[in-house]
Amino acid sequence: MIEKVLIANRGEIALRVMKTCKALGIKTVAVYSDEDVNSLHVKTADESYYIGEAAPAKSYLNQEKILDVMLSSGTDAVHPGYGFLSENDDFARLCEKNKINFIGPSADSMNLCGDKMRCKAAMLDANVPTVPGSPGLVKDADEAEKIANDIGYPVLLKSVYGGGGRGIRLVTNDKELQEGFETVTSESIAAVGKSAIIVEKFLEKTRHIEYQMCRDKHGNTVHLFERECSIQRRNQKLIEQTPSPVVDDAKREEIGELVVKAAKAVDYTNLGTAEFLRADSGEFYFIEINARLQVEHPISEMVSGLDFVKLQLDIANGETLPFKQSDLKMNGYAIECRINAEDTFLDFAPSTGPVPYVTIPSGPSVRCDTYLYPGCTVSPFYDSLMAKLCTWGKTFDESRLRMLSALDDFDIQGVETSIPLYKTILNSEEYKTGNLSTDFLKRFEMIEKLEKDLIQDRKDKQIPAIASAIMHSEFYKSKVQSQNSRNQNWKNKMDSV
């Protein structure tokens, strides 16, 4: 039985994992870098250990250091969160070797999932359809170019060690391919220290639909429904929802059966995600497995009523799944908006710095997982996700309207955020009618729509803005006056001395 868990992560996901551990009476151990001395996860854990400098390679990616903490603190399990070491099979193996329960799949299964080519081959063996592309790793840009010309542009260049939208580039011709090959290589090396690239046919107007896989150590396998994550920028998800507007009960079951096959094909244990592209024609193609808990897991928790971190702990403890597929029913609709610290109008460039004040939304069926607190700092060293804002509704529109209201309540001072963009998207007819695709932002010119919304907003606020300017001037005038009169008093006093 797991009694003490080290969370090898930071930010909102470290806090989210701790919430469940705390409710279950499991002790938590945090690790932190120089940059995180004042972060909430350090203050929330039962024990907190300093592990090094701000740069991830010096701290959150430092396997030896983290292992030291686990051994010295008497930790019996480790939760890797997402990012950092979560899909590093070397780390999973290091834990296995040291008899620390790694909360996730086995190192072997993770290695197989992480090797996009072997994984693809396993899926083809299991009759799970995949996207056309290179039969394996390409050795250089020239080989990639040859394959791209065979299957036809546009193609995706993907580092098999990438993920979360990094180490991936869409290229539409030979010149872009040559440039992109270099960028993907260097990004992958910067993030995980290695790179290996595959080429894949890029399908247009596709949707990104993923399924939550769940498998215990005894081979019992279910899926916990799908999530549609089509609204993206630079291949990174922005808004997710469940159910998908294009998945009905029959489709859910059909693809769900593929997902169960996929989990078995790679002998996956614990929670993971099988990602699919859905072509505009309706076909689903398996793309990859994310061998970890995902950012967007709360929306699946909301419609399933299950606590996924508890489920992860139970599976890691060797317990048998307490349900069969037929016991599981979806209840209602949920949406997640990833609240990023970024400037939409600067090509989503990171916006970092102190957050002097923040108001976190709440209310019926609103959930906000965040590391923000008044006086905290958004660090440039780590990723830009500040909060996962999720809402549930009995109908899709109820969850959407609650999200709009919650976005409006979310006041984050000091940094630029993606909140205004999300309001524009959630108010758009295209979003309301579920007309989604991974090029949603570009296809429906959402940034331009946002710009118009902001201009309209300023026009609507003409009167309060002018009133603010008038009162601000008056405030300064009266301050200067009162200072003058105080100086006057001072003078009088001096005179009387």
């Binding site: 990094r166 960028t183 260097s186 990004e187 910067a190 993030a191 630079r234 400037d343 109008f345 600067l346 090509d347 460039a349 990171p350 916006s351 970092t352 440039p380 060293f381 780590y382 990723d383 830009s384 409006d408 006041d411 001072q413 902001l454 201009i455 907003d457 300023r458 026009k459 606020k461 003409q462 009167i463 309060p464 803005a465 002018i466 009133a467 603010s468 300017a469 008038i470 009162m471 601000h472 001037s473 008056e474 405030f475 300064y476 301050k479």
Partner: protein, 170 residues
Amino acid sequence: MKYKVQDTDDIVDGEILEKLSQNEYKIKIKDNEYVVKILNMDSNVMEFVLNNEFHSVRYVDSQTSEMNFIVDGSSMSVNMNSHLDDIVYKNSGGSDSGAGQSTLRSQIPGKVVSINAGEGTEVKKGDTVCTLESMKMQVAVKAQKDGTVKGIKIKEGNSVNKNDIIAEIE
């Protein structure tokens, strides 16, 4: 005083008519009268009720003729001058506002990964001058206009802050 709010077209009159009490003022904007009730006020923040509607304002910065603030979550600016009609002023907030200037600045904080256009290189608007890494992503800093790169202020491996000068493009 005359006022012009960013993204609106009209220049309007605004003035305080009367101080009604310690925290209440009667003001006039265009030809309408309003009652402003101040709830909280310091040099950074003001909360007030304007004709029974609550507003919250954070002042970002203010100069003699321009005030930048965040009104109910919307960042905006107001120009003001007693003779605003007669004065030509630039419309702030457009994304092209830097196009005429020669100084290229970093719009994000980050680490310099590579300098793509070195000293003396001729560049066209939109060409990448250098590449920064921030939050695990690589972001290109692009030339804001056609010209020649001069006086590069950065080095590979160094960090830059937002608004730091990258180079001059002349």
